[in-house]
């Protein structure tokens, strides 16, 4: 009971903070924060499934989120027929060649008789010739595709389906990638797994940045379709105008609030589903087994549990949730910007959320996602206010004061670090600790 | 009261007690051997004397000075030296460097001591520039003992020094142990090879469940039919 009360209190405080921002700054700001809080919470749930349930340190969150973003583009953007005409089939052939060479390399490693070293070299030779062949097929196609109206498209486009489908696709993309990554990397020691996943996520982002034919690379994909109405259209409708008049609101502001609320509604539904499923999984025999493996891997494997297979399951599931959240994020932004995927923001910040919220507790993850995102955004105005207060004694244009004010935004990084260290030291189980421990 | 004396020792590694009031002691120039069945707390008792676990009760006295509360490093400076059973050499360092590290607490010139070690274990002199990890099991034990001798200790403690070495190597090692004891060093040794160890022992302790079952000279223990039947395999 008391823990319940405590949790209700914590979430109430969180809600009150958001409301306070709505009152002090504006409803729009508060809702913008809320929407990203919701997405962060889902991402955090995904990491929690891996870390909290199974003790896997996945430092590749950024890569899976980026794959979700890619899914948003590939599902929702209308196809570019000209690009398909000039290089579509050849690009597909190239992609198939690439995939085949990977499969063949794996087969070579598994099938060829002989020592590990020999098989390794054979696999490497197969992979290398596959790459050369793929480049030979792909390169002209890429050049042709990227030449199609490079300022606007220059890529193959997507399927032109409603963008909401991409959320599922994003999960699937990430799950598929996680399966491959997990297959090769999960046997590694915990800190090596972290470094390997961090490296792989960098490779994924590099790929997205440089393969323009796929999703325009650093030129970004603008104007993704939305699952909710556009502000401009809302402003033209009668009910919005009437509502604005009744509430004494600016129509433009109201339309923007309605759009954000619609997003929030969608996100809350997804969050609720993911949370419910995560809780079900955690409480199921499967979840208990996962935690047993986490707490004592050796004992669990001695009892005949297939630890590697279980780890792969949990790694794929968690990554799928991260991919889902990644697709939602790109949907909300309406733009896919590969260059924006930074490990600090997309991997380490999510980790702060998990640790601060409480590893192994789904409710904690949601709270962590909310609280950390809130302070990530609000640390800037708060830091600025603090600095202005502290330096109010100095002259208006004192060099130090100006410098501090100019760089106030960066205090949020340091704040996150301090919060993380404080929680680790004084409350290592987080705001809402794992139950039954 | 012996030169090194642990009395009424109670304690363990955080959980239940392993030691239940055993007493162990050794005098300068003597070889004392602790034997007993598996899990009797032999190694634990030795580690307790060196301060590697927290004593709940009991005291350790060295040269009439109570050292029960001193950390292991300070016991090293007081002249105690300990050779653990496993991982008792710096495998990536040369034999010479191992000995040098043994002398780490010394500020004076330790070359003469190193030469003494080399004359005690001539093979180490030949292999002084080789990494200790590349030596055979018996040679590693020599490095381990040599490292412990570098502080010029008054007490040398050996935890199962003959574990995993051939009988020939064991005999040779025991010969060296006697030689070391003759220089006036007190030697306390935990041994699995009870019979052979008691043969060179001035004092023997038979521990069972963390308590002294028999305490006598090595020869007396070997002659005791009870001890022979229960602990020495007839």
């Amino acid at each position: 009971m008391s823990t319940n009360l405590r949790n209700i209190l914590l979430f109430t405080i969180m809600g009150a903070l958001l409301v306070a921002v709505g009152v002090i700054q504006s409803a729009n700001v508060a809702l913008a924060i809320l929407n990203l809080c919701l997405i962060s919470a889902i991402m955090t749930l995904g990491v929690n499934i891996q870390w909290g349930y199974a003790g896997l340190f996945n430092a590749g969150v950024m890569g899976f989120a980026a794959l979700g973003g890619l899914a948003a583009v590939l599902v929702s953007f209308p196809p570019v027929p000209e690009a398909w005409a000039v290089g579509g089939s050849r690009a597909m052939l190239g992609a198939v060649t690439g995939a085949l060479s990977i499969v063949l390399a794996i087969l070579a490693f598994k099938m060829i008789p002989g020592g590990r070293r020999l098989r390794g070299w054979a696999a490497a030779a197969v992979a290398l010739s596959g790459v050369v062949l793929m480049r030979f097929i792909l390169d002209p196609a890429v050049e042709a595709i990227e030449a199609v109206e490079p300022a606007r498209t220059g890529f193959l486009g997507g399927l032109g389906l409603p963008i909401v489908f991409s959320w599922i696709a994003g999960g699937a993309f990430a799950a598929l990638a996680a399966w491959g990554i997990g297959k090769i990397a999960l046997g590694l020691r915990s800190d090596y797994l972290a470094i390997a996943t961090l490296g792989i996520s960098e490779i994924i982002v590099y790929f997205l940045k440089n393969e323009d034919w796929l999703a325009r690379g650093v030129k970004n994909v603008n104007g993704l379709p939305r699952p909710v109405p556009y502000e401009i259209e809302l402003q033209k409708t009668l009910w919005v105008q009437e509502l604005a008049a009744k509430l004494d609101f600016n129509v433009i502001e109201l339309s923007s609030i309605i759009v954000k609320l619609s997003y929030a509604g969608l996100f809350i539904v997804v969050l609720a589903i993911v949370f419910w499923l995560s809780e079900r999984a955690l409480k199921s025999p499967w979840g208990r087994m996962m935690r047993a493996i986490r707490d004592n891997e050796i004992a669990a494997s001695a009892m005949g549990k297939d630890v590697t297979w279980r780890h792969l399951q949990v790694f794929v599931l968690g990554s799928a949730v991260i991919g889902l959240a990644g697709a939602m994020l790109t949907t909300l932004d309406g733009i896919f910007t590969p260059a924006s995927y930074q490990p600090l923001r997309f991997t380490f910040l999510i980790w702060v959320m998990v640790i601060v919220g409480g590893s192994g507790n789904n409710l904690g993850s949601i709270l962590g996602g909310f609280a950390i995102w809130f302070f990530w955004i609000e640390a800037e105005p708060i830091g600025l206010a603090v600095i202005e207060l502290l330096t109010s004694g100095m002259g208006e244009d004192h060099a130090l004061r100006l410098h501090l004010i100019e760089n106030a935004a960066h205090t949020r990084l340091a704040t996150m670090g301090v919060v993380l260290l404080m929680v680790l030291r004084f409350s290592p189980r987080g705001l809402i600790p794992e139950r039954g421990k | 009261m012996s030169f090194l004396q642990g009395g009424g020792l109670y304690g363990g590694y955080g959980g239940a007690d392993i030691l239940h009031g055993c007493s162990i002691g050794v005098d300068k120039g003597e070889v004392a051997v602790v034997v007993g069945p598996n899990g009797a707390g032999k190694s634990t008792a030795m580690r307790a004397l060196f301060g590697l676990l927290d004593l709940r009760e009991g005291s350790v006295v060295l040269d009439e000075k109570d050292i029960s509360r001193l950390p292991p490093q300070e016991r090293v400076t007081l002249g105690m030296s300990f050779v653990p059973q496993n991982a008792n050499v710096f495998t990536s360092m040369t034999v010479e460097e191992n000995l040098e590290m043994g002398a780490f607490v010394r500020q004076d010139d330790f070359r003469p001591t190193m030469d003494q070690v080399f004359s005690l274990f001539p093979v180490l002199g030949q292999k002084r520039s080789q990494p200790a990890g590349e030596l055979s099991g018996g040679q590693r034990q020599q490095v381990a003992v040599g490292r412990a001798l570098m502080t010029q200790p008054s007490v040398l403690m050996l935890d199962e020094p003959t574990a995993g070495v051939s009988p020939i190597v064991m005999d040779e090692l025991f010969d060296r142990v006697i030689e070391i004891a003759k220089t006036g060093i007190a030697i306390l040794m935990v041994e699995q090879n009870a019979r052979q160890a008691l043969e060179i022992a001035d004092r023997g302790f038979v521990l069972v469940q963390g308590q002294n079952r028999y305490t006598d000279t090595g020869q007396a223990l070997l002659a005791d039919p009870e001890v022979r039947r229960s602990f020495l395999g007839g």
Binding site: F57, A185, G199, H410, L424 | T91
Partner: protein, 337 residues
Amino acid sequence: MTDILNALVLLANFVLVPGLTYGSQLALGALGVTMIYAVLRFSNFGHGETMSFGAMITILTTWWLQEKGITFGVLPTALLALPVGIIATVVMCLLFDRVVYRYYRREKANPVTYLIVSVGILFILSGLVRFIIGPQDRVFADGERFIMKARAFKQMTGLDQGLAIKTTQGVTVVTAIVIVALIFWFLNRTRTGKSMRAYSDNEDLALLSGINPAKVVAITWVITGALAAIAGTLYGLDKGYKPFTYLGLVLPIFASAIVGGVGNPLGAIAGGFVVAFSELLLTFAYKRVIAYLTPGDWIPEGLVQLLSTDYKLAVSFVILVIVLLVKPTGIFSGKTL
């Protein structure tokens, strides 16, 4: 004959010189990571930011010196300022160890906990650095820009291809050699250095030999801090200082340390050069080299490049992943100093 010389100079100019420079920077960074791993036994994700911090202090000191009109002749003023950067970084490292890491050592925390803690420090340092110096690009190299200019080289040798060596490149390589020699002398010849190796090899036995762990840990941080400040400054001198790039450096540095065998100083250095040269060799366009080496006037059609230059940094990540998967212990299979 001239063609072969031209081809060699081309390779030297675009692969050898930049590779030696970048390799030295990576090697110094990887040495720091490896020291921490060998003694404190965790992967320090904050090392890139530590380098950034050291470079920042050096830059601030350089500016102050320049304001006073003090320069270092043909050499960059930053070399004069470097000792201040080193001291500040060492103090910072010791402070973090005292306030943060020591607690976890006493708790005997597992490596992942340390890793998360180092992420916290990464956040703090990156915030601090951006707060103090701002996120902009800073070029702080001064003095003579070139040791050898391409034009001068052409005139001297009469070849078509020029070889340019920047002062910062020369400074980087020379400093790296001096520092590495010092580190190896320290580890293999001094009592304190040997005690560090002993501690890294066998902590319990080091304790039994009377080696003071607190002192070993402190010295490790001193060396790591100094290495980080030097590596960070050299990298900034050569490529321009921007706080953002230092987080990205962590992975190539880890790659270097792991390729050589993490915990092994020799491996860290070898790894740095393996990574640097792999990046350059895989993304170098061999077109002109082949043109020189083949008889007649034939010139290959494409660039003859294995990977596009866009993927330069990705090469190190790929190496990292491959090594982790194929031989996680690295070339030199080290875990100890």
